[in-house]
């Protein structure tokens, strides 16, 4: 996305204020591993109390961004501030104010749930008694109290993730980083974790999460930054991103593929842009949602084109990804694996 040249002093001041008040702000982050450039200049802003979703395929640089923002990794160039503190020069202080839950549930499997949380609390400098009390509180909140005294190697995947998230919340951090929080979870555990994250945001926590699941970003994030090849290639609210690939679309399945051309001609008056044809399926972008289906059926009926099925579809973030990168999110993943 090209940087917006400030139209006037007001806009510039407004942007500056936004950055100063931001819970997370990064500018020009660059990081290379040997000859591989993981980040090629990343700018990000997260307003307090909101959720920014970093969306992108494997290897796009999402985890590298999280690692820099959580002080695990120093950027080669660029600066970033989290909760008002610089990620490099104030790293020690910053660690008091952030929580990190990773892709791999980072708990000690030979310790019980309570022992894990107590250990983390004590490493934040709490006394054993206070750390234990906080651990109890969190286990109760995450519905793990029954398993509190069992080694975590006996936990299910979903329980481990919840414990990992609980560990990230021990010090009540104002800013929370979640690196692919639901990767590998079954649908029910995923939904549970989503609800938990939504609860944290409702309590005022700022969240930066990475995901390769479009529905996850769609559900949790108030803003999305799409990352590909170490750059932010688009940002905005989920709706704004969807608007960029056009409004709603009609998907019409015809009786016969041979009547597709006739259908395209018939639908021209209501189409936003030239309809696309794929076998017997015709896709039409529409300007107005209201009455679109009825109008399409009437136009096709007048032209004598038989319709088997017709549906109005909102664009998904998959469509966004395809429009922005020229490839689907899934295909991009395969590219990375093959490379």
């Amino acid at each position: 996305m090209p940087p917006n040249a400030p139209a006037d002093a007001d806009a510039s001041r407004e942007r500056e204020e936004r950055l100063r008040g931001a819970a997370v702000s990064a500018s020009g982050l660059v990081k290379s591993y040997g000859s591989v450039r993981a980040l090629a200049g990343v700018d990000l802003t997260v307003a307090p109390g909101t959720v920014l979703g970093l969306l992108g395929p494997n290897g796009a640089g999402k985890t590298t961004i999280i690692r820099i923002l959580t002080t695990l990794l120093k950027p080669d160039a660029g600066t970033a501030r989290v909760a008002g503190l610089d990620v490099v020069s104030d790293a020690a202080q910053l660690r008091e104010r952030i929580g990190l839950a990773g892709q791999y549930a980072a708990v000690d499997e030979n310790l019980t749930g309570l022992e894990n949380l107590t250990m983390v609390g004590r490493l934040y400098g709490e006394s054993r008694a206070r750390a234990k009390r906080r651990g109890h509180e969190l286990l109760e909140r995450f519905e793990l109290l029954d398993a509190a005294r069992r080694p975590t190697k006996t936990y299910s995947g979903g329980m481990r993730r919840r414990l990992d998230l609980a560990a990230a919340l021990v010090a009540r951090p104002p800013v929370l980083f979640l690196d692919e929080p639901t990767t590998g979870l079954d649908p029910r555990s995923r939904l549970q974790l989503w609800e938990t994250i939504e609860g944290l945001v409702a309590d005022g926590t700022t969240v930066l999460l990475t995901t390769q699941y479009l529905d996850e970003a769609d559900r949790l994030a108030s803003d999305i930054a799409v990352i590909d090849h170490g750059r932010v290639i688009a940002e905005g609210t989920p709706d704004e991103l969807k608007d960029r690939v056009g409004g709603e679309r009609l998907e019409i399945r015809l009786d016969e593929a041979s009547s597709a051309d006739a259908a395209v001609v018939a639908l021209a008056p209501m189409a936003d842009e030239p309809p696309s044809i794929d076998g017997e399926v015709v896709c039409v972008g529409v300007r107005r949602r209201g009455g679109a289906i009825v109008e399409a059926v009437r136009l096709l009926d007048d032209a004598g084109v038989g319709v088997e099925d017709i549906a109005l579809r909102r664009p998904t973030l998959d469509d966004v990804f395809l429009a922005l990168t020229g490839h689907a999110a899934e295909a991009a993943e395969d590219d990375q694996a093959a490379a």
């Binding site: 690692r67 990794l73 008091e96 990773g102 250990m119 490493l123 934040y124």
Partner: protein, 254 residues
Amino acid sequence: MRRLVTDTLVIAERNLVRLPRAPELLLAFTVQPIMFTLLFRYVFGGAIKTPGFSYADFLIPGIIVQNIAFGGFVTALGLNEDLHKGLIDRFRSLPMARPAVLAGRTLADVVTNGLSATILVITGLIIGFSFHTSLLHALGGVGLLLLFGYAFSWVFAFLGMLVSTAEAANSVGFIAVFPLTFISSAFVPVKSMPSVLHPFAEANPFTITVNAMRSLWLGAPAGNVVWGAVVWALAIIAVFAPLAVARYRSAAGQ
């Protein structure tokens, strides 16, 4: 500094608490050393001439030193596992003292080394070993033993952070440490080896430490060998502790 101490203790406690829950590890500390002691005493013992000592007296200080040196293996494997499971990331994102993860780990090794040394001494007493010196000397020997084990824990800590997999840590550690322990006075007198090995065997910190143990426990002529052993242990710590901590700071930064 206070933070370093408390954080180190928290991590040491973590590593000790989990120990009884990983039975295969506990086996390595208990059954395995007993097995080796019995094998050496009864299979090789009759064939090895140790002038001035019974083989049981000769063997126990040697085999204990060897065992203690390998005690740090748990540290290499454990750190490697922590690294791969993301636990090191969690620790590094916490406001804890930086060296505490390694210092806690190596401190826990001192406790487990104490445990296996106790088991070996008891085994030794049963098969004919006895202390020939004062209680003070015997305790001095225990102290030296634990110091030497602590030094090797730092070697293994560095190794665990260096290699990519637990299997690699295992084989590198084994290949590096095993010959060191054997080309020493731990199991046979150096004089019985081919003369090309003498310079190496005599300079080997294992030989020096084992000889120091024999002087503290059996009253063998000491010379400066006890101080030599202490200096070796401190030197190993001075080199490998900073290396391991530097590696810790950067290794997880991938």
